[in-house]
Symmetry: C2
């Protein structure tokens, strides 16, 4: 019997400038302009790379209001940001978020393909459809696409982009200077896609990188979101409020993928994770409590409202039961909003308790490095996750995670001590996708030879 | 009388991977994969910065065919490419080409604004409308926008982007951790643009950089192109076939700008320039002749055809008079194509001679470093140009230009010996644009105080 290598935990770092919560920026160690300072990002990425993490991850949003939390108010755009990080690192993966609702597939294919070359095969694209209806008005539309349409467009969009990424077979460029042959013309392919939502001819003016194509991440948690993930995701970054939720999500997503004929091991589930770390569990809990105590409830209400397309929750009694919002069309962050409503109903939470659960506390692991490592190991061994994407909000916690938690995970044989690969696909154990035209010609040749 | 500083020559380097002509890639010193190798670009940019050049420049095209020349066939996308260069340099300006015909203003504003932050105020955007009709089919359109419509859209597009860049006044972010005030809400502004071609609400989630806004470059040479330049250009990168053409273009463009009430000194005219350099003028001419002799006439015909939307010129007798193409709709590179037709007609050129003039030879300065410096000085002092953008095609010529021609220009007091600024606006002598909302409030305050 072949001995297979033990399953390895995956770890990413969500680099977030001034944080991931409306209060994080007030941490004395966070520079006020971190979200627009490339040097801050490069420094965090290099730390993550020194600890052998799989990837850094950049979230995004194409719509703000004056009440939007600081980490979305003023920030570098993911692709330019990641290109700056790419030339400042050498091994760590680089995953950026970009919406399929307000971009052109041709431009997206070019930019992520270019990032994949610039990073020598370390690019990933986190595919989102944009939750906030207000984004529509930044793009010449009166109304945001309806939820189901957004997901249908997303699937077709990704298929177009992946088709464009195959425009050149890997042997397309002999670059024979003596003979004057740069391109083998029969190795360049037009996509000629004519679909429901997009028509794109191609070819893209870009060859494939060392990892073939950028890795596709996806984060949707609604029914449509999970179906999209089952079709296209090679990694997911879904919410995981608690262990049971995570386990149920992962089983469901992988079952959906298997039903589509995909190998469920080729989807790496890496939910976001917040940590509070200290020398004792009590101290860590006190840190978390202190942070919660500093949060402005009015701002937390705005962040809760963001899940419901900036619905105004300040009109409700915070200590009464979570209000009836069944009249709202959940066209924003539908999966997340549905979970909030369902949980509040089932557990009889007040508005204040709901805010504490979903905005202020979220799914943090709190304690010593060993306590947090135990929890990570538990989730991982049970198959609730394949790894985590750590929210980098408080620099002290990030440093403690990298120098405290990661070595424990290494000692337990769960996490790599050094990189064995230098592409993102290599780190995540994902195969290099074969070029579709090379595959097709191989089949045609085989049939002709029979 | 105030002594004003002498007018200073501006110099840019067009970094072009495997070159700017279908034969350049065969130069033994050009790596075959230069156009997709970020390290090649970074190396050239650092050389340019060491020589104190104003900027590097990246051209672009969103459409290829199997017959497209090597430098457009397979290449990094400008914004990701320039972001990689940005963190690898510290002073030189970074100008990227992007079309207004197939992008969303909100995304363009974010990405160039982000590059401006990543580079600490060194970004520039070369605004183009896309010459090639085939591009339409990469973006879901059956037909390319007509020439006049392209330019009307371009003007509105740039105005929207510049409006979005002003979303935050420069004092918008007190980031007072003690008081918990990150943003002054009255310093964030929605654009609420509702125009003929675009509707964009804003605000953009990005503050202004040290230079206020990226510098706008433009390259159109047709009547519509010049009008657009007169409205928006702070720098131009137009063709300059010869001295008379350049002088006439520059006078015309600046006169158009003056008629619009703009200061003509605030448009820096920097046409493209090719050089062949050697230790003697004869040797340099021999280099150029040898290069022309190596060019494949059939491929040169394709490049000529590109100006006419890939019209097939191979069907004509190359030694007969330039063919009658009056039946073609010049919706591609209209200014350039009109110039070709007019010149061929006026000078009675054959097709072969036309190809030699406009595709193969172009406007090269050929000779020793001193000869080339003399020609640059002559054009500059006469006001035909404010500077040049050097086509970086053959590494040997680039090195000779930087180490031979530039020092002569410095000795003559025409070009800086060291950087006096660290923003692109600083290098080009362009003022930092005031934020429109700050200006408006200043006016309102002044009126209220009267």
């Amino acid at each position: 019997m072949v001995q297979t290598a033990p399953r390895q935990l995956k770890l990413g770092a969500i680099l977030a400038g001034v944080g991931t919560n409306h209060g994080d920026w007030r941490d004395p160690a966070v520079p006020g302009d971190a979200s627009v300072d490339i040097n801050w990002y490069i420094e965090q990425a290099r730390k993550a790379e020194a600890a052998k993490l799989d990837l850094v991850f950049i979230v995004d949003s194409p719509f703000i209001t004056p009440d939007t939390a600081p980490h979305y108010l003023n920030r570098l755009e993911p692709l330019t940001l990641l290109s700056g990080i790419a030339v400042s690192t050498s091994r760590i993966g680089l995953v950026g978020t970009l919406t399929t609702s307000y971009w052109e597939p041709y431009n997206v294919a070019r930019q992520f393909g270019s990032l994949d070359h610039i990073s020598k095969g370390r690019a990933g694209w986190n595919v989102v459809t944009t939750g906030l209806e207000g984004a529509a008005r930044n793009y010449g539309r009166e109304e945001h696409f309806a939820h189901a349409e957004r997901y249908a467009r997303a699937l077709e969009f990704v298929q177009v982009v992946q088709g464009l990424w195959d425009s050149y077979e890997d042997d397309a460029f002999p670059r024979d200077k003596a003979a004057g042959i740069f391109l083998r013309k029969d190795r360049q392919h037009r996509l000629d896609h004519n679909g429901v939502h997009f028509s794109v001819a191609g070819p893209l003016a870009l060859s494939r990188s060392r990892q073939g194509q950028p890795v596709i991440f996806q984060a949707g948690d609604s029914d449509e979101g999970r179906n999209l993930g089952a079709h296209i995701a090679e990694g997911t970054f879904a919410a995981a409020a608690d262990f049971e939720t995570a386990l149920s999500y992962t089983r469901d997503l992988k079952a959906r993928a298997a039903r589509l004929g995909r190998d469920p091991d080729r989807i790496v589930v890496m939910p976001g994770l917040s940590v509070f770390l200290a020398d004792s569990d009590e101290e860590a809990r006190a840190l978390e409590e202190a942070r919660l105590g500093r949060l402005d409830f009015a701002k937390s209400l705005v962040e809760l409202g963001r899940l419901f397309n900036y619905h105004d929750f300040s009109a409700y009694d915070p200590d009464a039961a979570f209000p009836d919002v069944s009249n709202l069309t959940l066209n924003s962050y539908k999966g997340g909003a549905e979970r909030v409503v369902r949980t509040a109903r089932e557990e009889g939470l007040s508005l204040r308790e709901t805010v504490a659960r979903f905005v202020e506390r979220r799914s943090a692991f709190v304690g010593t490095a060993a306590t947090v490592a135990d929890e990570i190991e538990r989730w991982f061994r049970a198959g609730a996750v394949d790894g985590f994407n750590l929210h980098v909000a408080r620099p002290a916690d990030f440093d403690r995670f990298l120098t405290g938690v990661v070595p424990i995970l290494q000692d337990r044989g769960l996490f790599r001590r050094d990189y064995e690969h230098d592409t993102l696909r290599g780190h995540l154990g994902l195969p290099v996708p074969e070029n579709r035209y090379t595959v097709a010609r191989g089949l045609a040749d085989a049939i002709a030879a029979e």
